[in-house]
């Protein structure tokens, strides 16, 4: 493989997220089997869906005996952000074959998206195949660990000690993704609008407040960039 350097760089950048994927895959496996799913069904979720938050929402609503269509609507709403990730990756990976774009789509999770888009923006000279190799490198330590951890949780069961603040590994790993993105004033303003927006629109159902906040934050970031560019050009 000619792009092995990019692949291994991605692998290295994806590896620390094992600290997140391992406990949460295991917790999903444990909770799913305790809810009455067999191992095949539990693995079906983690292999066919690969989206932790949406899987937990679906499981919770199945436990509440919600109608199938409502379960699907609520859990897919959690994954609507993936369409925004898809749009954001399109300028970088859209020119590739359908086969490769489908692989990118299947493995699209928060970590692979965030690590890749940061890399691409810092290295605009990367070729399509280098970008694809980097992406595959990031997902290599993440997605297989998600499957294996789910299986271990489902098969081995209740070994996780309760009372640990393990839930907070989620925001910690996301902070490790977010802070490096705050490269300009426009990025900082977009992040602030996102935070304020999600609090203001928290009354909206199905997690839709997050999407409204995200759209407003993208507009705020883009507008800040436009004004800063114009101000710079005005000075020249």
């Amino acid at each position: 493989m000619t792009n092995s350097r990019d692949y291994w760089q991605g692998f290295k950048d994806g590896t620390p997220f094992i600290l997140l994927i391992l406990p949460f895959g295991a917790v999903f496996g444990i909770v799913a089997t305790e809810s009455g799913l067999n191992i095949l069904e539990t693995m079906g979720f983690s292999v066919l869906v690969i989206a932790g938050a949406a899987q937990f929402v679906a499981l919770q609503m199945m436990l509440d005996n919600a109608p199938v269509l409502i379960v699907l609507a609520a859990s897919l709403a959690v994954n609507l952000r993936m369409a925004m990730y898809s749009a954001s990756l399109a300028p970088h990976l859209g020119a590739m074959s359908w086969w490769r774009r489908s692989i990118v789509a299947y493995f699209m999770v928060d970590q692979s998206y965030a690590a890749s888009v940061l890399k691409y923006e810092q290295n605009p000279d990367m070729s399509h195949s280098q970008k694809f190799a980097y992406y595959m490198g990031v997902v290599t330590p993440i997605c297989p660990v998600w499957y294996m951890a789910t299986w271990a949780g489902a098969a081995l069961g209740t070994a996780v000690p309760s009372g640990l603040p393990i839930d907070f590994v989620v925001p910690i790993t996301f902070l490790a993704l977010i802070v490096p993105m705050l490269r300009t004033l426009a990025h900082v303003i977009a992040a602030l609008v996102s935070i304020i927006g999600v609090l203001v629109f928290s009354f909206m159902p199905f997690n839709l407040g997050l999407l409204v906040a995200a759209v407003l934050a993208m507009m705020a970031g883009a507008e800040t960039e436009r004004r800063m560019t114009r101000a710079r050009q005005g000075q020249v």
Binding site: G44, M84, S88, P165, L175, V198, L199, L210
Partner: protein, 109 residues
């Protein structure tokens, strides 16, 4: 749970297929077409527009702590941000943040 096998697999396959189509959506539709500059300018802020909002409720109102501000978790979040700024390293940030989290948990609790 009163879900039967058929219903369970309907949810799994429906959610899997739907998620895949959401992930493929714009990658598939846009393909190699050039996007206008104003669209690209908005897309550059996608990650930073979604992820901070995603974790804000988890940091401020953690369900595992009864949905109230929790000094251990807030301190760990502040420490994580500081480590990330200072080290610029995801590995050090994640392991450092987790060390502060569990250290405070066992120290205080």
């Amino acid at each position: 749970m009163t879900f039967g096998t058929a219903q369970i697999w309907t949810v799994i396959i429906g959610l899997g297929l739907g998620s895949f189509l959401l992930r493929l959506s714009f990658l598939g539709i846009i393909g190699n077409r050039e996007l206008p500059e104003w669209v690209l300018r908005h897309l550059r802020y996608t990650a930073v527009a979604i992820m901070p909002g995603m974790i804000t409720p988890l940091i401020l109102f953690p369900q595992a702590a009864g949905g109230a501000l929790d000094p251990v978790r807030i301190s760990a979040a502040v420490a994580t941000i500081a480590i990330s700024f200072l080290t610029k390293s995801a590995v050090l940030t994640i392991f450092g943040g987790a060390a502060v989290l569990f250290g405070l948990h066992f120290g205080i609790g």
